[in-house]
């Protein structure tokens, strides 16, 4: 069994009187693609926000390896190796595609303001390496032909893929994808599935929020189902698909049957 690299323990978060997540446990194994599914409002994006430090849990912990990362600063968590994309695209629109990715790679750079002004050898080396790395990532994702275009002028599908590229720029161990296929047509979904597999094969671990069942069944190793802030299933895709509780969560239960 591969070792666990991300471990959510008894994670609970309350917003006022609403319990958005109730004592959720979740383990992410190294090298797997784990899909997080559930009806709208189940708390999927909240899980992402807790992992990346946007929210602090009311109780419970998030462990990256052996280190508790809840309560750490967001950019620090990114530096520790967790990167994410956003459900509603949040690229830096006035930057080019390449600059977006380079901004991601900057988290691994060490040069500061003074070094940049003076143009120290390290500053030049890092700038050069970052640009090369960003190009490589764009090629890997297959959007290098758009390198010099402004992000806001890109076609929608390319913007979605650029979100992934920018996250990869931070050299994460774990990649969190928040509905990467939203708004895609079937053909684009097939392409995206190939990209996600390719990323996993390159050594990344992926946690994925998605609504499209065929995409999930095709690529994920394991599926976790959330409903009203509770984990109701955690198993192989084929098992989860036939779980009566999951079906009930998605389709509702006829009144006379309950």
């Amino acid at each position: 069994m591969a070792k666990t690299i991300l471990n959510l323990k008894d994670l609970t978060i309350k917003f006022g009187g609403v319990t958005a997540l109730n004592s959720v446990n979740l383990e992410l194994k190294e090298g797997e693609i784990l899909a997080l599914i559930g009806p709208n409002g189940a708390g999927k994006t909240t899980v992402f926000n807790l992992i990346t430090g946007v929210y602090k849990p009311t109780s419970g912990n998030v462990f990256l390896g052996d280190v508790a990362i809840d309560g750490k600063k967001r950019h620090h968590i990114t530096k520790l190796g967790i990167a994410r994309t956003f459900q509603n695209i949040r690229l830096f629109g006035d930057m080019t595609t390449l600059e977006n990715v380079i901004t991601g790679t900057d988290v691994r750079n060490k040069v500061g303001l003074i070094g940049s002004i003076l143009g120290t050898p390290r500053s030049r080396r890092e700038e050069k390496a970052s640009t090369a790395k960003a190009y490589e990532i764009l090629k890997f994702i297959g959007i290098d032909e758009y390198a010099d275009r402004l992000a806001k002028n890109l076609p929608y599908g390319v913007q979605r893929r650029l979100e992934i590229a920018r996250a990869l720029g931070t050299e994460p161990k774990i990649l969190l994808l928040d509905e990467p296929a939203a708004g895609f047509n079937p053909q684009e979904k097939v392409e995206l599935a190939a990209i996600i597999k390719k990323i996993r094969d390159a050594g990344y671990t992926i946690l994925l929020i998605e609504h499209d069942m065929s995409l999930i069944m095709g690529i994920s190793d394991r599926v976790v189902v959330l409903d009203f802030g509770q984990k109701i299933a955690d198993d192989l895709p084929s098992v989860v698909q036939n779980d009566p509780q999951v079906i009930a969560a998605y389709l509702g239960v006829p009144e006379d049957a309950s």
């Binding site: 600063k73 950019h75 530096k79 990167a83 830096f92 380079i102 901004t103 900057d106 002004i117 720029g169």
Partner: protein, 339 residues
């Protein structure tokens, strides 16, 4: 209206190195010759033209460049920028009149003092954004001015007189012929442009740009927004402080009245008028807004009416400033096949 920014950028990209070098030198020669243009249509009716070139024009350009880093590049609205200018000026005035230090020796001290003031302002305001940040910075600017006004030790409302001129560097700075002051400030402006351009294309520039566009996304992509917001304030403050030191040394007399909210707003107007985030636009904007009120001084109070009218008309014609920030894509774009 013709797109000046794109025309300029296209010319630059089309040109080879010798043409570029030649263009830069030609522009610099023309600008450096400006103090000799006093008897042409450019002449200002009341103040001498060479003095107007130094203040307000040169000083405004310098300050607008500094404020542009905070407002234009990093997207933080600062309405108290004049405070840093004041800190630099008072450092010069106090040390210049009470110690044997000369302007060039005080310059780094003044810049350091302004940077320190920048940290003081940055730390409590880091959590604030937008309107709230603007209000706090506005308050900061007023605190500095009112403190100076009420401190008898630094002259109170009368300010400090007898601030020494900068010592000459093989020439003498003169009151009636300010071309040396102008050339000195030109060197300062070139230095600031050089530094800002370096920062813009490297890591700090990207960090500021990402903070301006989406602060939360920037932080989640690993940008230490805390650190870079402080740096933006401190860097902007350093430029304001340097301008202040030179201003005090040239003007010989400074008083709290030189550092009112009006000046902060005017510098901000230069940035917005010229084009937020575009240093060439900001320079042109500051030069125009510094020059116009003096050019139309013969209209006495009506000149402010005219000044306001120019602002309103121009901002309607070019809502993003004279030279807006980079929006166009590089000339060489490979054909996209669509996703």
């Amino acid at each position: 209206m013709i797109n000046l920014r794109d025309k300029g950028a296209e010319f630059w990209e089309r040109s080879n190195r010798p043409v570029r070098v030649l263009t830069v030198f030609a522009i610099m020669a023309v600008v450096a010759a400006l103090p000799y243009a006093g008897n042409t249509f450019l002449q200002t009716p009341v103040a001498a033209f060479d003095a107007v070139l130094v203040y307000p024009m040169g000083m405004f350009i310098l300050m607008a460049l500094g404020l542009n880093v905070v407002v234009g590049k990093s997207g933080m609205l600062d309405l108290g920028y004049v405070a840093f200018f004041a800190v630099g000026a008072y450092t010069m005035a106090i040390l210049g009149t009470r110690t044997g230090l000369n302007t060039w020796e005080i310059m780094p001290i003044g810049i350091a003092a302004a940077m320190f003031a920048g940290v003081l302002l940055a730390i409590p305001t880091l959590r604030l954004r937008g309107d709230y940040l603007a209000i706090v910075t506005l308050g900061f600017g007023e605190i500095v001015r009112v403190s100076a006004l009420n401190s008898e030790a630094i002259g109170g409302a009368l300010g400090i007189a007898g601030v020494p001129f900068p010592p000459g560097l093989g020439f003498e700075y003169q009151l009636l012929d300010q071309k040396y002051f102008f050339w000195t400030i030109l060197v300062m402006i070139l230095l600031v442009i050089w530094v800002i351009r370096r920062l813009t294309v490297r890591r700090p520039g990207r960090a500021w740009e990402s903070i301006r566009q989406d602060e939360d996304a920037a932080e989640l992509m690993g940008v230490s927004t805390y650190k870079y917001k402080i740096w933006a304030f401190v860097f902007g403050a350093a430029i304001g402080g340097g301008a202040g030191v030179f201003y005090a040394s040239r003007s010989m007399v400074i008083a709290p009245d030189n550092f009112t909210l009006n000046t902060s707003i005017l510098i901000l107007a230069c940035v917005v008028f010229g084009g937020m985030g575009n240093i060439w636009g900001v320079i042109v904007g500051a030069a125009i807004l510094g020059y116009l009120p003096d050019r139309f001084r013969f209209l006495s109070d009506a000149r402010l009416l005219l000044f306001g009218l120019v602002l309103v008309v121009f901002m309607n014609l070019r809502p993003e400033g004279i030279l807006p920030r980079k929006k166009r894509e590089k000339a060489i774009v490979k054909k996209g096949s669509g996703a």
